[in-house]
């Protein structure tokens, strides 16, 4: 599946396109199919996201949306070395999910 991610313009927080807006949780990400370019242009112009891009992802055995690249999995949960600062969903996926 193809999902969209970027950073919130004001806060810089990592966000994921959920079909109607931008969520802080990767599990909310939806498959955008062939519509990535159009959504990215519209959302960036509306300043709802900063530096957005499209990535490959899968649904893993636990039902979680899993970005294909480790960099985006680190972005999804937070620094692996500061788990106290992780997004709340890290508790569901577990940190092995990143590697």
């Amino acid at each position: 599946m193809k999902i969209l991610t970027g950073n919130d313009l004001r806060s810089g927080a990592v966000t994921w396109w959920n079909g109607t807006g931008w969520s802080l949780f990767v599990d909310d990400a939806v498959d955008v199919g062939d519509e990535a370019k159009e959504i990215l242009a519209r959302e960036e112009a509306a300043r709802r996201v900063n530096v957005p891009y499209v990535i490959e992802a899968t649904i893993d055995a636990g039902g979680h949306v899993r970005p294909a690249h480790i960099k985006d999995r680190v972005r999804a949960l937070g620094p692996t070395v500061r788990r106290d600062l992780a997004v709340p969903t890290a508790a569901k996926t577990g940190w092995d999910w990143v590697i």
Partner: protein
């Protein structure tokens, strides 16, 4: 230490207001990200993996207690309660909001700090020997010259858009504690027949193509220091490779031209520049130098009670000989076993500030090794300093040992990284602390970078580790034999890389080879240089 005059303050204040307007226009949609990005980068504001990151300049690593307290306040008010001290003697905050950035810069300005020129293709923060003005082996205090260069390079109109970023280090001892020859320009302040001048090295650097800077001038008279630096930059600015980002650093130009031809061109430019008369008057250097007058040292005990073995170990490892024999410089380790190299909480920053006020003439230094230094501590006060540090988790006795690891933020924070550096540092420091082998190994500098840009100085590690992306998974190349000191050398790769578990085990094997082969008094680096790579390769790869 140097204090801003009205010109310094006015320049920084004006930049804060300029950035406030730029950020407002970005938030209102009047600037696109493409338009805004170079503006925010000029003010040290990056966009990293999790948020905006602000890199604050700490000129030649020197700050006072009030400034450290302000850094702590920023960590607490605008970030998540901590900051990260870097290998260029700066501090980075990892969780900054764009809407707060101008307020942070305003807060910094109130304590004579800023984030200007901590990014972009300009002359970056000038770095220096962290023991400047304190080390017993110092020939000349390099700080006035570093400050002069800071003022010269700040907002220099000709060097705002160089082919690539440009880093300068200044030292004043034979001992190199600033990786001077691994900078674009390295300057050693020297004395010749009683006259002070500067030795110039050009074209060093780490990153994708590591190079050791050759010496291009043995002695530049003091009243021509800025002109000579200007000539070095002018030749680079004119001929540096703007067509290829990966070949745009000065090291490539010096390498391709050859040191002799680059030097010839610099000398031609220098001769021309001498006629222009841009060198600041000697009185200006004298004005600056007055800020660095030695503090009012007092005599006191030169020995201490070593009956507490933990304290004695810390004294042996973490203190450095001072110019005044009743004082030492004391290294505050930001490397607890299993900790994150260079990270300090707001409370730890405040403690360091308090200790600086109480025991070190209100002065602190950020070391390029990602530790913090109290430069002038009375021997009589050492136990009190150590006790306070130890209680706050800042008393690890590990300076220059295998636990004193340099590690870049890596893939846990950095958008350029390919692999995580910090977890490796944590595992290695934990393992050696638990095994008790750290003391036996002696001086052993281990440095880890999460990508080829080498912010973790892996090329200069006695043992270096470089994280790479191998088909979407983290892989780690091991290298041996680097040094950033006066015996500078570049590390060589051992062979095929390892996964995370593998590289931790490989480091242990390498230390086993060293312990088995070393002769009396040899450091790891000495043994490596004597026996070469083969015994290490055999242990690692069985061939």
């Amino acid at each position: 230490m140097y204090r801003y005059d009205q010109y310094d303050q006015a320049m920084v204040d004006a930049r804060v207001e300029e950035f406030r307007d730029q950020a407002r226009r970005r938030l209102e949609g009047k600037l696109t990200e493409d338009q805004f990005k170079p503006l925010r980068l000029m003010n040290g504001l990056y966009l990293q993996l999790h948020a905006y990151m602000l890199r604050v300049a700490i000129p030649y690593g020197t700050l006072n207690a009030h400034q450290m307290e302000a850094l702590a306040d920023i960590a607490e008010k605008y970030d998540r309660g901590y900051g990260h001290f870097t290998t260029r003697q700066n501090i980075q905050y990892n969780w900054i909001k764009l809407e707060d950035a101008a307020d942070i810069l305003a807060d910094l300005s109130k304590v004579e700090m800023h984030a200007i020129q901590t990014s972009g293709n300009c002359i970056r923060n000038i770095s220096a020997d962290h023991f400047a003005g304190a080390a017993a082996d110092e020939v000349v205090d390099p700080r006035p010259y570093a400050e002069l260069m800071r003022q010269w390079s700040s907002f220099h109109p000709e060097f705002t858009y160089l082919p690539r970023k440009f880093k300068i280090a200044v030292i004043g001892s034979e001992t190199d504690r600033a990786a001077m020859r691994l900078h674009d320009i390295g300057i050693r302040i020297v004395k010749r027949d009683g006259e002070v001048g500067a030795q110039f090295f050009a074209g060093g650097g780490m990153g994708r193509t590591p190079m050791i800077a050759p010496m291009i001038r043995d002695f530049v008279p003091l009243d021509q220091l800025i002109i000579y630096a200007e000539a070095c930059l002018r030749v680079y600015n004119r001929y540096g490779r703007r067509d290829n980002k990966y070949k745009a650093r000065i090291k490539i130009l010096v390498h391709e031209l050859g040191a002799a031809e680059y030097t010839r061109q610099v000398e031609d430019e220098f001769a021309h520049m001498l006629s222009v008369g841009i060198e600041p008057p000697r009185e200006e250097l004298a004005r600056i130098a007055a800020h660095f007058a030695p503090p009012a040292f007092v005599d006191g005990p030169k020995t201490l009670d070593r009956s507490d073995p933990d304290f004695a170990l810390w004294v042996d490892r973490n203190t450095h000989r001072h110019q005044h024999d009743a004082y030492v410089s004391a290294v505050i380790s930001l490397k607890p076993a299993g900790g994150i190299p260079g990270d300090a909480t707001a409370d730890q920053m405040r403690l360091m500030a308090r200790l600086a006020k109480q025991y070190s003439f209100d002065e602190l230094r950020v070391m390029h090794t990602q530790n913090v230094l109290l430069p002038h501590v009375r021997i009589a006060d050492l136990h009190a300093v150590w006790s306070a540090l130890d209680e706050a988790g800042l008393g690890s006795p590990n300076m220059d040992t295998i636990e004193d690891i340099i590690a870049c933020p890596g893939l846990d924070y950095c958008s350029l990284a390919n692999a995580r550096s910090i977890p490796l540092a944590q595992r290695i420091s934990e393992r050696f602390a638990a095994s008790g082998r750290t003391a036996e190994l002696g001086e052993l500098k281990l440095k880890i970078s999460g990508c080829i840009n080498a912010c973790g100085h892996h090329h200069a590690g006695h043992i270096g580790i470089l994280g790479v992306d191998k088909k979407g998974t983290e892989n780690f190349q091991l290298s041996l034999g680097g040094s950033e000191a006066e015996d500078v050398s570049l590390a060589k790769i051992t062979g095929p890389g390892f996964d995370e578990d593998g590289v931790v085990a490989a480091v242990e094997k390498v230390t086993d080879v060293y312990l088995g082969a070393r002769e009396d008094g040899e450091r790891f680096l000495d043994t490596y240089r004597r026996i070469g790579m083969e015994p290490f390769k055999e242990a690692l790869y069985g061939r």
